[in-house]
Amino acid sequence: MAALPNEPPVAEAAPLLEAGGLAKHFGPVVALRSADLRVRAGEIHALMGANGAGKSTLVKILTGALTADGGTIKLGGQPRSFSNTAEARKAGLICVYQDPSLLPDLTVMQNLKLTATPIDTFRRYLDKLGLGGFDLQAMPRELARPTLSLLDLARALAIEPRLLLLDEITASLPADLTVRVFNVARQLRSEMRSVIFISHRLAEVSALCDRATVLRDGRTVGVVEPAQGAEERIVKLMLGPVAEEVTRGAAAQAAPSAHEVAVEVRDLRAGILTGVSFTLHFGEVLGVAALEGQGQQELFDCLAGVRRPESGQIVVGGKARTFRHPADAIRAGLVLIPADRIQALLRQRSVRENIALPLVNRIRRWGPISPRREKRRVESAVKRLQIDTRVQSEVRRLSGGNQQKVVVARWLAGGFKTLLCFDPTRGIDIGTKRQIYGLVKELAANGAAVLLFTSELPEIQLACSRVIVLFGGQLVEEMSAAEADEPALLRAAHGLHSVADAT
């Protein structure tokens, strides 16, 4: 174990928070079996685990959003339990979630009033987060998501919490804003307050956190000091005994130009997107790298038929196409896997129905649906993706990773030529992530064309054979996977042109 520079020399400081044997089940589904967590005062503590490991449930119990079925919570040595978030807040425990909890229809000011947040302190933390002079009469409905995240964070900080929980807050933040969040977390640590940090990004965890508690299947399986080099250990803990060696790092090699052109985009303009042209070939995974809001959303929306471009052409199979509706794009073989599973799935319906949905369009337009044919195709897709079907009656009860697999499975069963993946692994654990990237590569190897945007730059090399970089709505860079390591991509994504010279 690595000795940490900022660790106090005292062997074991009295823990600020001590949770033992926490358990929670929802009907037959056990979310948390026995979770233990000790957080010291003045510590940034990571909470890690695959999707469905119980992180969110644990956070909700600690902040009073859920009541545990069993186990104890001690705060500063005193046994405590919270029956609602307001009580936890009074005790100095507050959580900021990935999706901001500001009410969209109340002004920021009214939101602060609703939670009895002191305005002056809120302003002070806003300054620290780089939003000084922010207009409090703004309506959250009209604000960008990263801004909302920062506002939500500042609101939580304004009550001067003893323990701040950050539940994947960085997932929807661009890199520069992430840095601001880290700085604030470090400041809290220096004031002997504590932070519980949840993120799927190992790099963030090792850069920020003093210790990490790893959960698997609702149990605490280890506490690790995530210094440089401990990443593999954390991954192994999260994956458990079934951890298989996934070929990591070996960039997919492909000879794209040998294959036919799947999609050609010519001088596309839509919203921020100005004059983007590129070709996507069958048999390749073309990566799209960009910071938040550089036109990637517009690009994918146009290709998937969600939005109509202002000018420019999308050429599929040698013909310029106009997609009036996603159905047009699907018919042309272009299918979308959005970042937000909720956009794609019918959450109250079963796994089978969700997978079979596009089949209904095809197998038989009118008249009854043949359950047998449907079942066969659905089952083969489920098997191929190893979808956890224990709770298959309602998709919303699956974990995020499994929900995303259902979206992929739908198109596997439905058939497609070009797969448009828009940040398909957002908020998904490493194990599932690797499966999804493996699958994407396999699909390309079998002749499909894949366009893949991911907000996590290091993952570009894992899956892609070629990368295009968008900045300010323009295509600023094209490189092969071999060149596209994180520093190169980061520089290009920030619009710094001299990449080739610098490296």
Binding site: A86, P100, L106, G133, Q137, D176
Partner: protein, 332 residues
């Protein structure tokens, strides 16, 4: 980690922000503009339009305005109350039964008691919805029959007999012929609503309607806020029932029940989002006046006022379509 400082947010100083004012209050302005336009048309059609006609309009609009406001509170909280009309009927017949043959002071005491009873009935609606988790539309449909039945038990058929002193509270014009009492009585609405809206309790009504999950995380007591919304709705429905008593002088077990749906029409026209969380009271009040003006205009034009219903329907569809068009255009 990237250290590049990207200026992600333009920071704006507070001040008058015209674009935002239009976005937020545009609909309300438009509803008032529509009302003024209709009034101008009315005066053109009927050049001798005077205080009497204006008084008649305010009398017709008063119960509807209360019905609309009552529904607005619940809709803002993300619910719906189909029992607003029957609650009004209940208040109406209770008032008649208790006031019959008494003087003004006694009647005012009765009015206060009636308001209390109907507020409690509203709270019962809310409590049932929260406790049983049966959808609001089902619960209030069921209670609408119960309140109607109770109203019929209290008074089997329309009966006149509201004391004249009480009727005069609404029917006269104490200040000036152009400011009828029925217009002044609307002040009950801001008297309760403005302080409530500014309080955390009122904000939490908007909060539960806006995003229930975010409201929960913000520490809002969802059950309490929803029950309160239904109770306030009951109070305003009670005001509506009393308004019916004062404007007609009659207690009728059925008259009030019609106000459920016309109240919903008024809030749609008034710019309250049926999805909850968005809207205010000013729009629905103006909409109540618009909806009450239409039958009068038809009479002035010599058209069968029964067309009024159809015109009301067309108007709502048209207005909502124009509103939708506005949203689409703004997105462009």
């Amino acid at each position: 980690m990237a250290q590049t400082a990207v200026a992600s947010q333009p920071s704006r100083r507070a001040g008058i922000n015209f674009g935002r004012a239009v976005r937020r209050y545009g609909w309300t302005f438009a509803v008032y503009a529509l009302f003024v336009l209709l009034m101008i048309i009315t005066v053109i059609i009927k050049p001798d339009y005077g205080p009497f006609e204006w008084n008649t309009l305010t009398l017709a609009a008063l119960p509807l305005a209360f019905a609309a406001v009552a529904q607005t509170v619940v809709v803002l909280s993300g619910g719906i109350d189909l029992s607003v009309g029957p609650l009004m009927a209940l208040a109406n017949v209770l008032a008649l039964r208790a006031m019959l043959g008494h003087d003004l002071r006694y009647s005012l005491g009765v009015a206060a008691l009636v308001l209390l009873v109907v507020t409690l009935a509203g709270a019962v609606n809310g409590l049932t919805i929260v406790l049983t988790r049966v959808p609001d539309i089902v619960v209030t449909l069921a209670t609408s029959f119960i309140w109607s039945g109770l109203a019929l038990l209290v008074l089997a058929k329309p009966t006149p007999g509201i004391p004249f002193d009480v009727q005069n509270l609404a029917q006269g014009s104490a200040l000036s012929p152009w400011i009828p009492n029925a217009l002044l009585l609307l002040l009950v609405i801001p008297l309760l609503w403005v302080p409530l809206r500014r309080s955390r309790a009122g904000l939490s009504i908007y909060a539960v309607g806006s995003d229930r999950n975010a409201a929960f995380r913000s520490g809002v007591n969802l059950a309490r806020s929803r029950i309160m919304a239904y109770a306030v709705c009951g109070f305003f429905a009670g005001c509506g029932g009393l308004a019916l008593s004062m404007t007609t002088g009659v207690g009728s077990p059925l008259a009030g029940t019609l106000y459920t749906l016309s109240g919903v029409s008024a809030i749609v026209l008034g710019g309250v989002s049926l999805a909850g969380g968005r809207g205010g009271m000013l729009g629905p009040i103006a909409a109540a006046y618009i909806l009450s003006l239409i039958p009068a205009v038809l009479i002035y034009l010599g058209i069968d006022p029964n067309y009024g219903q159809m015109i009301q329907g067309l108007l709502i569809v048209l207005v909502v379509m124009i509103g939708g068009l506005g949203v689409v255009l703004r997105r462009r």
